[in-house]
């Protein structure tokens, strides 16, 4: 059985943040509120990264997702202000979409639960206790610039970001002037 300690409490709170925020994103009429729910959900994911002992990714999650992407979305919502509160927020295929989402969830949960069913019970935390030794941020940084590691994908990612930035400027620029 799960023991009652700080990390369990944090897990439950972050789960509420993630799923509650996500439900808020897809159901709220006002898009500014939907963006705030999105920030709540992203913050919950950052908490998950801390629980999974990946503090660098948690920091990047807060900086990139909440600091950059969410603010960018707020800008887009405000620049398209007449569309912020539509009377009809769902399109004609919402019922089908809900069925697809629920069916996909059912399939995924079956796929997750089935392999662990029967060997010691699902709530037995000792069954899947991982090793306590974990790489830290220094190892991650070294792997990113290591010749035998990820230096080529790293450079390609930089190129992708540059291309995306130039592309965004070109697409969003007003050509009439």
């Amino acid at each position: 059985m799960l023991e009652f300690n700080a990390s369990t409490v944090a897990f439950v709170v972050m789960t509420l943040f993630i799923l509650g925020g996500a439900l808020g994103v897809v159901t709220t009429r006002n898009l500014i509120h939907a963006t705030l729910y999105l920030i709540l959900s992203l913050f919950g994911v950052a908490g998950y990264f801390v629980l999974l002992s990946a503090p660098f990714l948690a920091a990047v999650q807060v900086l990139v997702y909440i600091g950059a992407i969410a603010i960018l979305i707020v800008f887009a919502v405000m620049l398209t202000r007449s569309m912020t509160r539509m009377s009809e927020i769902l399109n004609g295929q919402w019922l089908l979409s809900a069925i697809v989402g629920a069916g996909l969830f059912l399939l995924l949960v079956i796929g997750v639960i089935l392999p662990t069913w029967g060997n010691g019970g699902l709530l037995d935390a000792t069954v899947s206790a991982p090793s306590q030794v974990v790489i830290d941020t220094v190892d991650l940084g070294k792997a990113l610039v290591d010749r035998n590691g990820f230096v080529l994908p790293f450079e390609v990612a930089s190129l992708l970001l540059t291309a995306a930035m130039i592309g965004a400027i070109v697409i969003a620029r007003d050509d009439t002037e």
Binding site: S7, F11, I18, L19, A22, V25, V26, A34, L38, S41, V45, Y48, L52, S53, A54, F56, L57, Q61, V64, Y65, A68, I69, L72, I73, F75, A76, V77, T80, S82, M86, E88, I89, L90, N91, S97, A98, V100, G101, L104, L108, V112, L122, A125, V127, S128, P130, S131, I135, L140, A143, P153, A157, L160, L161, A164, M165, A168, I169, I171, A172
Partner: protein, 102 residues
């Protein structure tokens, strides 16, 4: 510690809520928010599997970092396209933008 399957179930729920948002919302910005939720669900899975299966390798964290990069690029390009469409057609409803529909 929290067993791995709990993280996976939450990630599955987040992914499916995001899918519903992408498929059902009319506003293009809301569709993009759904895509962000789906990317985050994938990131939870990557980091969770890294922590429980292979915590001495860097692969899992590096993959998650690349998801961040792709998500940032996708958000910038997506929002630029949405703003451009809004400027030209005065609408961000996905059903109105059917220029490429044959």
């Amino acid at each position: 510690m929290i067993p791995l399957w709990m993280y996976l179930v939450v990630a599955a729920g987040l992914f499916c809520i995001g899918t519903y948002g992408v498929l059902a919302r009319r506003n293009a910005v809301a569709v993009l928010m759904g895509v962000e939720l789906m990317l985050n669900a994938v990131n939870i899975n990557l980091v969770g599997f890294w922590r429980y299966m292979n915590p001495l390798e860097t692969n899992g964290q590096v993959f998650a970092a690349f998801i961040f990069v792709v998500a940032a690029a996708e958000a910038a390009i997506g929002l630029a396209i949405i703003i451009s469409i809004y400027r030209n057609r005065r609408s961000v409803v996905v059903d109105d933008v059917d220029l490429l529909k044959w």
